[in-house]
């Protein structure tokens, strides 16, 4: 299994500002993923973060709004840029493991006022 931590665990931000969320894994992993979970909803994949290459974004998500870094095999960041109240969500990172299992971090709870 993999142990994943995220920082911050929660934040309240003003509209128009940006927030960078960090994801740290206790072991080296190839694939890292970022998801959004809007209030009371399920998870939606934002992008896949590969070390050494640009992130791959899903339909409806763009790099200018959600820039991602993946500087090494244990760390990634997701920035939520120019925030609006509609960005209020839980943002989760996950990593792949042996086979098809994914492990999730505890999430970052973001409220935009």
């Amino acid at each position: 299994s993999a142990v994943i931590s995220q920082k911050p665990s929660r934040d309240i931000c003003q509209r128009g500002t940006s927030l960078t969320i960090q994801c740290q894994v206790d072991s080296q992993v190839t694939m890292m993923f970022w998801y959004r979970q809007q209030p009371g909803q399920s998870l939606t994949l934002i992008a896949t973060a590969n070390q050494g290459s640009e992130a791959t974004y899903e339909s409806g998500f763009v790099i200018d709004k959600f820039p991602i870094s993946r500087p090494n095999l244990t760390f990634s960041t997701l920035t939520v840029s120019n925030m609006s109240p509609e960005d209020s969500s839980i943002y989760l990172c996950s990593v792949d493991a042996v086979g098809e299992t994914q492990y999730f971090g505890p999430g970052t709870r973001l409220l935009v006022l």
Partner: protein, 113 residues
């Protein structure tokens, strides 16, 4: 994109009762995963089913994968308050393990003592 339909969306029952939740798709699943998410945490993998007709048991939880691999069910026997949470089914849309997951909308389950 493969769509996963989960039902029911909400379920509230008394402790000791049995329940079943469902996950369906119009397409064949390469594999299907069931997760449980408790408030304030990320989803935790319960089981992965791969073979049509497969049945897996995890204590009081029984998971079935349809023969045609288009549907799955989760049955809980003698539900307990600790079973409360959001139950999510998920699959890899491309069929492989090297991509992010597509989730169903989830079943919000409340077990009342």
């Amino acid at each position: 994109t493969q769509l996963l339909e989960q039902s029911p969306q909400f379920l509230s029952i008394q402790e000791g009762e049995n329940l079943t939740v469902y996950c369906n798709s119009s397409s064949v699943f390469s594999s299907l995963q069931w997760y449980r998410q408790e408030p304030g945490e990320g989803p935790v993998l319960l089981v992965t089913v791969v073979t049509g007709g497969e049945v897996k048991k995890l204590k009081r939880l029984t998971f079935q994968f349809g023969d045609a691999r288009k549907d799955s069910s989760l049955h809980i026997t003698a539900a307990q308050p600790g079973d409360t949470g959001l139950y999510l089914c998920a699959t890899h849309p491309s069929g492989g393990g090297a991509d992010g997951l597509t989730f169903g909308k989830g079943t919000h389950l409340i077990i009342q003592p």
